[in-house]
């Protein structure tokens, strides 16, 4: 995505046209009106005493003090980092490993790719429900192992408050690592073949060449992958709704679900806006430095 902005360098010749400006107007209006005006509104409301209805009297950080004193938010916010760390590490590890495996000129590559990428076409709702069934103690893995004769086998993470959040990681890795595989495989295919020749002449083992030479060359691409997964983590909503619905209790809640619940079920606009603003801040904290360094790198 950063390529978009880096290609923005002007062209020598471009015609003017009134029609072009008119054609662009709706997009600009939607962008300013639906995005930037809405963002401004939400951020401002988070600094008022709004509750059921918006009030516009400025009240500083009151909503944020209350938000971070709310146990449910503390859980949701901590969960974002727990789920995020494991999901990013797991998805990146699986995605990179798969890309390396497929890079070794494998036969039937098309079939492998097709299988590894199909989860991406499935909605988070179906993904979440499916993994909920697989991990359910009554019909899923626990029941399967017990049917083999290990009758007191226990695997009930999804029903336990301490562990429910970790079950989201299984589904997250399953759904997203194909994307990382596709991005990294394209990168690996672009690595100069001379590097491989040189490594072979030097007698460096293949695995060593990947770890010490090829993957370090692709570090910028891996950063892009981490950024993509991290943003997906901050935005996560549908997966947790379908898989645990935030439960048991609110033990597997995430900020995305917290905002929607507070906005549309509890009708507490002030708290919802403050939580949404924290989400926005989290995304910007990832995106802005990334775009900045990407543009600096590309323009060098």
């Amino acid at each position: 995505m950063a390529t978009v902005a880096s290609q923005a360098v002007g062209r020598a010749y471009r015609p003017r046209s009134l029609a072009a400006k008119i054609a662009l107007t709706p997009t600009i209006l939607v962008m300013l009106g639906c995005y930037y005006a809405s963002i401004t509104w939400t951020v401002y409301i988070s600094m008022t005493r709004s509750f059921l209805l918006p009030v516009y009297h400025f009240a500083g950080a009151t909503q944020y003090h209350r938000l971070f004193a709310t146990p449910r938010w503390q859980v949701a916010y901590t969960n974002m980092f727990l789920f995020g760390a494991l999901d990013i590490l797991g998805t990146l590890a699986v995605g990179v490993l798969l890309a390396v495996l497929l890079d070794r000129s494998v036969r039937f590559e098309g079939i492998f790719r097709t299988i590894l990428l199909y989860p991406l076409s499935i909605s988070f709702i179906v993904t979440g429900l499916t993994w909920q069934w697989i991990l359910s103690p009554t019909i899923g893995v626990q029941q399967l192992v017990r049917s083999f004769g290990w009758s007191d086998f226990v695997f009930d993470w999804i029903t336990q408050p301490d562990t429910a959040i970790y079950t989201l990681v299984f589904a997250g890795i399953w759904h997203q690592s194909g994307l990382i595989m596709a991005i990294m495989l394209a990168g690996l295919r672009g690595v100069d073949r001379e590097i491989w020749r040189a490594a072979r002449i030097e007698g460096i083992p293949v695995w060593r060449t990947y770890i010490s030479i090829v993957l370090p060359i692709l570090r910028p691409l891996m950063v892009t992958c981490v950024v993509l997964i991290a943003i997906a983590v901050v935005k996560s909503y549908e997966l947790v709704v379908a898989m645990t619905n935030g439960g048991p209790g609110f033990s597997s809640d995430l900020p995305g679900k917290f905002v929607v619940d507070f906005e549309f079920e509890r009708a507490n606009i002030g708290q919802a806006s403050a939580a949404a603003t924290v989400m926005l801040g989290s995304v910007l904290a990832i995106v802005v430095p990334y775009l900045y360094f990407e543009l600096a790198r590309k323009n060098r």
Binding site: V4, P15, L24, P26, S38, L117, V126, W133, S273
Partner: protein
């Protein structure tokens, strides 16, 4: 055989073994859902969902499609299916059209502040939905179309616009500017050049964009839940309602059949158009 080549051979076998295992892990969820949907309800509860159906039957499919219950409505997921189709078609057509026109205007015509516009659009593509949901609800209520088909279509167009515009702008920026120059010498204007010169060259990118929007909009849950209204609930919303209904005995075979029916359209799109799908998904990875 030398030691080196034997090692290489063992390495190859390990490689394929690992790949096959991973692929098995990736396909298990789909296989489990398919096999469970072919069982009877009692069968799922007595055994695990991993056992194969004793007597495969499509009874659960028929029930899921035509008579599964969401609360008191027992019309099956076909209701949601047709709602999703009604939402999908206009949303895809409008958002792809709007994106292509915007991308074209930004790449081949002199627009003051074009770079700023693109940067602002790029940032929009990253914004979590939650930040702007409530103001949009308020706006649509004020206009008087909240909770209706036009409302959910408009919302999909709004949320698709940044990624669509940038996708097309990226593509058109790669086309030589002489195309526009030559057409202008022949007297063609903005729209004429778009229709006669640009669109015929855009078949691939149009396919990529259409697939990206189709799978994205079909799979959407949050926007449908908030903006579509009771009468236009998309299939994903209905599926989640069916699967999480806690009254009575849970019919896992019906629930899995409903999940499969919901996943089927994007899966078909994926299997038919693999290459385009992957291109779109990597280009649009920031969306959602």
């Amino acid at each position: 055989m030398t030691t080196a080549s034997r090692q290489a051979r063992i390495g190859r076998i390990g490689l394929y073994a690992l790949l096959v295992w991973v692929c098995l892990f990736f396909s298990i969820p789909l296989l489990v859902v398919i096999s469970t949907s072919l069982k009877t309800s009692d069968e799922v509860r007595t055994f695990s969902i991993f056992t194969l159906p004793a007597a495969p039957s499509i009874a659960a499919w028929i029930k899921a499609w035509a008579s599964a219950c969401t609360g008191l409505n027992c019309g099956g997921v076909r209701v949601g299916f047709w709602n999703s189709v009604r939402i999908l078609i206009p949303s895809v057509i409008i958002s792809v059209t709007a994106g292509s026109v915007t991308g074209y205007a930004l790449s081949h015509w002199r627009i003051r502040g074009a770079n700023v516009i693109m940067l602002l659009l790029l940032l929009c593509a990253f914004i979590p939905y939650q930040v702007i949901l409530y103001p949009l609800v308020k706006t649509f209520s004020t206009i008087g179309i909240y909770s209706s088909l036009p409302c959910i279509i408009a919302v999909h167009v709004i949320f698709g616009l940044p990624v669509m515009s940038l996708l097309f702008r990226n593509f058109y920026a790669g086309l030589p500017e002489e195309l526009v120059k030559a057409a202008r010498i022949d007297g063609a204007g903005f729209w004429r050049i778009f229709v006669s010169v640009m669109l015929p060259m855009s078949v691939n990118i149009l396919i990529v964009a259409t697939i990206l929007q189709t799978t994205g909009i079909w799979n959407d849950y949050l926007l449908g839940l908030i903006f579509a209204g009771r009468d236009n609930m998309p299939m994903t919303v209905q599926l989640n309602a069916i699967a999480t209904t806690s009254t009575g005995i849970i019919e896992y075979n019906v629930n899995t059949a409903a999940a499969l029916l919901t996943a089927l359209p994007p899966l078909l799109v994926y299997f038919v158009s693999g290459r385009y799908f992957v291109r779109g998904i990597t280009a649009g990875a920031v969306k959602g």
